[in-house]
Amino acid sequence: MSLSNRHLLGLYGVPKEDIQLILDTATTFREVLERPIKKVPTLQGKTIVNLFYENSTRTRISFELAQKRLSADTINFSTSTSSTKKGETFKDTVRNIEAMKVDMIVVRHQSAGVPQYLTRISKANIINAGDGIHEHPTQGLLDMYSIRERLGRLEGLKVCIVGDVAHSRVALSNIFGLKAMGAQVTVCGPTTMIPIGIESLGVKVIHSIDDAIANNDVLNVLRIQLERNAGVRIPSLREYHQYFGVTTERIEKYNRDILILHPGPINRGVELSSEVADGPYQVILDQVTNGVAIRMAVLYLLGTMH
């Protein structure tokens, strides 16, 4: 079995079989992570560059760890300045790195479309680690993995994504992936945070967090990103928490069987109360562990393709 595309640019248009294969492969690697010696020789001799044009700690560490667990050689290139401000163009940077004979590039960038652009200027396998407010496919995959791990399936499940859906790459990858796997997807947030035309993807739109909790099996709660100017779309974090925050009271009132996901980092007291963030309904730290397994699966499947 192998994937139908040699890059992972997003989950848009990725067939169900591919997602299934990645999730199943991740199960094997998840088991490796529980061993005393957490390393396999699968990608020995492969060179992977982590090209991060935007600040990231979690995703970069997770990818790096996944690469090391697979015995690949890893290089980190991080910069928070855009190529427009630096002397060198993005294309020249990539050409230089490629000249060092790399096999795979993991890329994060402020601009949507950079992973697609990379496929045109590089021969390496490209993995999108987040492009603008477009996609973050490995996050989508690890979210689906975490749901499947707990609830045993994805098909027919009701999943609600809560928060600034319009400015979230996590939301879009979740929507594409979950729809492909047969889940029912709802988005919940203030009207200023719901993307235009989202209903035409077969996604339901609601504005009540109580309804979201009452009528879904899973809530994937997004971080309110003040760094993405969320301040102009909501009056205050206090009002957001009051009307869209997930609290223990709401869960206990409406749905004690709900599963809570959050891509991190959490704004405690904003999208989640501290009690929920540490409580029995959430799988937030499992998501982090599963993230390594998912990234190992993606790297392995792409790195061993012919």
Binding site: Y12, T89, A112, I196
Partner: protein, 429 residues
């Protein structure tokens, strides 16, 4: 020197002229139409233009020639060459150069640089100093030195108060204000807002960003009694606003670019920055409204918004890449392929929109096809099938999304200022 255009279709809607005949040009002036003698034929260079159409020279009222300031992207000379190759005998160049065209000195510099060319270049001057939207540009001296209109193109005239002053002051010259209609506070995006921008995760610009300013400018033009020309109209809402305003008798005119009636935001799915424009490519519904507006006369002009950019600048991450494409060498092909052959416009209507009307708006005399007139002509071949090849562009920049596109119809020759451009070269006539 004498040349003869043999059995060419002479078409000028302005003169109600449409007939097939021989045309004799001597020393750059139309000497005879029909009734040519054997001596005439023997003493002239004869062009066999049967099945070709001779019209008043095409005019592009919205181009960026980049000189002074960005001569690496285009110069007055290379831009004029591109205009001639595309089929134009006249262009109006926008003031967002470096320095801006906001002094008589720069206007004279451009006139001087362009004076020996086949293509006439008419500078559009900045409406405000440095196009900052604060103080008025010195309009008297700008007009006196040859500016034909005022615009802060590239950006909108910032406030209603400054717009009011610009309109009031410029009424003394009856020059149009050409406005780039986009509300700044809503325009911090890289593409049109809609389902496609949602799917691509790109920051987006809604139609209302344009509609708001078009409405503001129309109301101000009515209030002041000034002339406003809407540059590169792109939305259905703006077309509706212009149509209503014209019905009320407000002095408003509008232009559209070929890319805004040919391409949609769907093209951006490839993340090719040659589809990044300002205003952004819109949707099918907007194109349909634009075509309706072209048909019923709401949109007066087709102009290219020729915007050369270097490869290094354009080949960049999508959100950082500059807006715009070169258009002088693809405009007639797109007008004929997309509008005339698809029967949205008659050839006569098309000629009005990219030869006659822009000159009327800028108060430049319209070349006649009559004996005794200076020969300022474009020869079209309506049915020539050709493929765009950016490597053959005369423009210094090659940023076009139309590379390798198949087109039907093009310009085969232009004649103006005692010169002819034919078969890829300039000849003195």
């Amino acid at each position: 020197m004498k040349i003869i255009l043999k059995q060419v279709r002479l078409l000028n809607p302005e003169q109600k002229l449409d007939k097939k005949d021989d045309l004799l040009i001597e020393n750059g002036v139309i000497k005879k139409i029909g009734g040519l003698t054997e001596t005439d034929f023997k003493s002239s260079k004869v062009f066999e233009f049967e099945n070709k159409i001779c019209i008043p020279g095409l005019f592009d009222m919205h181009v960026h020639l980049r000189e002074p300031g960005r001569e690496d992207e285009e110069t007055i000379e290379t831009g004029s060459n591109a205009a001639a190759a595309g089929g134009f005998t006249g262009v109006a160049c926008m003031p967002n150069t470096n320095p801006d065209i906001d002094s008589a000195e720069i206007v004279r510099f451009i006139k001087e640089k362009s004076k020996n060319h086949l293509v006439n270049v008419y500078p559009v001057a900045a409406a405000t100093l440095n196009r900052k939207g604060e103080a008025l540009s010195p309009m008297f001296e700008l007009v006196e030195s040859g500016a034909v209109a005022f615009s802060d193109d590239g950006t909108v005239i910032k406030t209603a108060a400054v717009l009011r002053s610009v309109m009031e002051y410029s009424k003394m010259f009856d020059t149009p204000i050409i406005e780039h209609c986009e509300d700044d506070s809503l325009s911090d995006g890289a593409m049109n807002e809609g389902l496609t921008s949602t799917l691509l995760g790109l920051p987006a610009i809604p139609n209302v960003a344009e509609d708001l300013i078009v409405a503001r400018d129309i109301m101000m033009a009515e209030f002041i009694g000034a002339r406003i020309h809407i540059a590169h109209i792109s939305t259905k809402g703006a077309v509706d606003l212009v149509r209503q305003a014209k019905k009320k008798g407000i002095k408003v005119t509008a232009e559209v670019t070929p890319h805004h009636f040919t391409l949609t935001d769907d093209n951006i799915k490839s993340f090719d920055t040659n589809y990044k424009m300002s205003p952004p490519l819109r949707t099918r519904a907007d194109i349909d409204a634009i075509i309706e507006g072209l048909k019923d006369g709401t949109i007066d002009v087709i102009a290219s918004d020729h915007a050369p950019h270097s490869i290094e600048e354009k080949e960049m991450e999508f959100i950082y890449a500059p807006n715009g494409i070169v258009g002088l060498e693809t405009t007639p092909g797109l007008v004929l392929s997309e509008l005339v052959h698809k029967k949205h416009l008659t050839l006569e209507q098309a000629v009005e929109k990219f030869s006659i009307n822009p000159r009327k708006i800028l108060k430049i005399s319209i070349p006649g096809i009559k004996e005794g007139e200076k020969a300022d002509l474009t020869i079209l071949d309506e049915d020539s099938i050709w493929t765009v090849d950016i490597s053959k562009f005369k423009s210094k920049s090659k940023n076009s999304p139309f590379d390798k596109r198949l087109m039907t119809g093009r310009s085969v020759a232009v004649i103006n200022n005692n010169k002819m451009f034919y078969e890829d070269k300039f000849i003195e006539i």
